[in-house]
């Protein structure tokens, strides 16, 4: 992909990058408000001045070619980027009107509010029960063993995994199939009752049947949670999300209702990407 500076504007793949994000950045009932977010890896700018609202009870999907910064932006939302030494975040991200990059904010309690599901299913090498119970235990969510068991059961129920594993809760979570493992990770995330769930390409390693189950699950969870999903699959974005944001080279090119973005994109780059001209 060629990138050159022509007359002060950045040219990418023969298209001009917009000065600012197209579409509707703001929503009526935002849970997450990101303003002028810049992320640097050392000297390299990975996220370039992104502002975005994410509404409560809404699924938003981040799409874009590899290396466009969508995962980086996602990981800003629960400060997982803190674990990378050379990573620096500027700007403001507010969740429920609290700036999560405020020095007073405890990252542990933030991550209890903003759960995360990773690209590769990563259950702990412990039993299915312990996988789910770990979060509630460290956050002190259950006051008794019975309560803990209830939390585990309801989390597995909501993740649609209960019927499949209820007879083998003491068996290792790593012994499940790939799709089941990913749903186990989702159950583990919702066990701590977060407000926001971040999903970083949750279905990239799953077969179509397992993918369908996870998407079904996202449909059911949208009532209760704000869900942000990074995906490489245009169809998935179209199927599960209310809004879609298109990232390119660290910039948020455009964001809008999923239907509008897929049928009538504002920018040529988005058009090129969703029609499969590159990506």
């Amino acid at each position: 992909m060629s990138e050159s500076m022509v007359d002060g504007t950045t040219q990418v793949a023969g298209r001009t990058l917009p000065d600012k994000t197209l579409g509707q950045i703001y929503v009526d009932n935002p849970r997450v408000k990101a303003r002028d977010v810049n992320v640097f890896y050392g000297d390299k700018r990975a996220i370039d001045n992104i502002s975005l609202d994410i509404g409560a009870s809404q699924v938003i999907s981040f799409i874009g070619p590899s290396g466009c910064g969508k995962s980086t932006f996602l990981r800003c939302l629960n400060r997982m980027n803190d674990t990378i030494d050379i990573c620096r975040v500027e700007g403001e991200i507010k969740i429920d009107d609290q700036n999560i990059y405020d020095p007073l904010v405890d990252v542990v309690s933030l991550r209890a509010r903003v759960g995360m599901v990773f690209q590769k299913a990563n259950p702990f090498p412990k039993s299915i029960f312990d996988n789910i119970a770990y979060g509630p235990t460290i956050h002190g969510l259950a006051t008794s063993k019975v309560e803990l068991e209830q939390i585990v059961e309801s989390s597995l129920q909501r993740a649609g995994l209960w019927e499949e594993v209820k007879d083998r809760l003491d068996q290792p979570g790593t012994g499940l199939s790939g799709g089941q493992q990913q749903r186990l990770c989702i159950a583990r995330a919702i066990a701590v009752s977060p407000e926001v769930i971040l999903m970083d390409e949750p279905c990239s390693a799953l077969d179509p049947i397992a993918t369908a189950k996870v998407e079904e699950l996202i449909h059911e969870l949208r009532e209760q949670y704000t869900i942000v999903i990074v995906t490489h699959s245009m169809q998935q974005a179209a199927r599960v999300s209310d809004r879609t944001a298109y990232f390119h080279l660290g910039k948020l090119i455009e964001v809008g209702d999923t239907k509008q973005v897929f049928t009538n994109p504002n920018h040529e780059l988005t058009q090129d990407y969703i029609t499969g001209r590159f990506g």
């Binding site: 030494d85 990563n122 702990f124 460290i138 290792p172 012994g175």
Partner: protein, 435 residues
């Protein structure tokens, strides 16, 4: 001049050239395989030779010759004050009682020279042995009992057939008279070849027949205990800090380089450091397992740190992400997930380090653990020695019987090491999560 056309090699040309290269590739592979197998075979051969040699030399060291004497336990001579305590018995004439029964068994030899030769037959520690016997069996006082005493090391060597009767009397360490006595006792069935209790329960001694490893074994255990108590937590904590918490800056880099360098420092240097710091500067006593353990801990620290770091690094980052993503703090992530998963590797490294420390001699010589200490150390503050140093000392002694004792002690040290390694493998297998 090449056959490569502008369009590249044709498939036919290419397959011909591949066929050509395949023979030489296969030859190279076969050669490499052969060299590898040869290396393993040579290593195994030497190992077998080593073990065969040690076992061959050492097994006799586990046995020694005893002579059974009928001793009349005369209360008046052995316990003059009739108190039956260690102090009161110290005044008893145990050597005299044994001497009398020895003379009796030999048909009461006449003359000073004959008697002196007779006394050379049994170990000089026999009086001590009889005293212990009386203390253990006070009810036998006043009666005549049969007690086994070790024979003197020269007699033992003769009985093993290592001193020939053919050698002229002047050139051998035992006289004709003594040989006659030995034959006489043997004819009475008093001489027996049995498992050596001195080897296991005796301590350091200049008399080969009484020398044992008990003191050194206890010393080794105490020293290793101190070593593991200091080195394991310190090493694991350092590894965790360096891997999981330390900022990646110049200072951390310097620390890392220095730790890696420490692993290559000759062990005797640690001994000199222990001498300078703990004994000279802190004024701690010499020869104690506490100082030995600390010195060995410093020596094993780099091994533990390096292997622990490798084990921690091998824990997949996805596990850390999972724990952090759910809201576990850094310490919780480490304690609940990273350390348990790294533990098999950490334990293996630790036990390898401990095995190294167990076999270490040089640094302990520096801090005086080479001293001749007869008493078994009763604590980490009691002077003592350790197995390898004991072996080192025995190997230095001239008496022939020490050769067997040294080999026996080496076998015990090796058994100790193999047990430790087996424990390492067992722990590893037990802790390793196979899912």
């Amino acid at each position: 001049m090449t056959d490569v056309s502008p369009k590249g090699l044709s498939p036919k040309q290419a397959s011909e050239r591949v066929a050509l290269s395949i023979t030489s590739r296969n030859r190279k592979e076969a050669r490499f395989l052969f060299l590898g197998q040869l290396a393993v075979a040579v290593a195994m051969g030497f190992l077998i030779l080593l073990f065969a040699g040690i076992l061959n030399k050492g097994m006799p060291g586990f046995f020694q010759y005893y002579v059974a004497l009928d001793v009349r336990l005369d209360a008046g001579r052995l316990d003059p004050t009739n108190q039956m305590t260690l102090e009161s018995l110290a005044g008893g004439d145990f050597d005299g009682v044994i001497r009398d029964s020895l003379y009796q068994a030999l048909g009461n030899p006449e003359g000073r020279k004959a008697k002196r030769e007779a006394r050379r037959l049994i170990s000089s520690g026999s009086g001590q042995r009889l005293m212990t016997y009386v203390l253990d069996h006070p009810e036998h006082l006043g009666s005549t009992v049969s007690v086994q005493f070790a024979v003197d090391d020269d007699v033992d060597t003769f009985l093993r057939g290592l001193i020939s009767r053919e050698i002229p009397e002047m050139d051998r360490r035992i006289s004709d008279q003594l040989i006659d006595y030995i034959d006489a006792l043997d004819a009475q069935g008093r001489i027996s070849y049995e498992i050596s209790d001195y080897l296991f329960f005796g301590s350091a001694s200049r008399d080969a027949e009484m020398a044992g490893i008990r003191g050194a074994l206890v010393g080794s255990i105490l020293t290793l205990l101190v070593c593991v108590v200091i080195a394991f937590p310190l090493g694991v904590a350092t590894a965790v800090y360096l891997e999981e918490m330390a900022p990646k800056n110049r200072l951390t880099e310097i620390i890392e380089i220095n730790i890696n360098n420490l692993a290559a420092v000759p062990s005797v240097v640690f001994g000199i450091m222990g001498l300078a710091i703990f004994i000279v500067a802190f004024g701690m006593p010499r020869s104690i397992p506490l100082v030995g353990g600390v010195v060995l801990a410093l020596m094993t620290l780099p091994t533990i740190i390096i292997s622990s770091r490798a084990a921690i690094r091998a824990v997949p980052p996805s596990i850390r992400d999972a724990a952090l993503g759910i809201g576990a703090s850094k310490i919780q992530t480490i304690m609940h997930h990273v350390l348990p998963l790294a533990m098999p590797g950490i334990l293996t490294g630790t036990i390898i380090g401990m095995a190294q420390a167990l076999g270490e001699t040089a640094p302990l010589l520096m801090i005086g653990m080479v001293a001749f200490i007869v008493d078994v150390p009763s604590g980490i503050n009691d002077p003592g020695t350790v197995l390898p140093v004991q072996i080192f000392m025995w190997a230095d002694f001239a008496e022939r019987m020490f050769i067997q004792k040294t080999s026996a002690a080496i076998i015990i040290l090796l058994t100790f090491l193999i047990t430790m390694n087996a424990a390492a493998i067992f722990l590893r297998k037990k802790l390793e999560r196979r899912w």
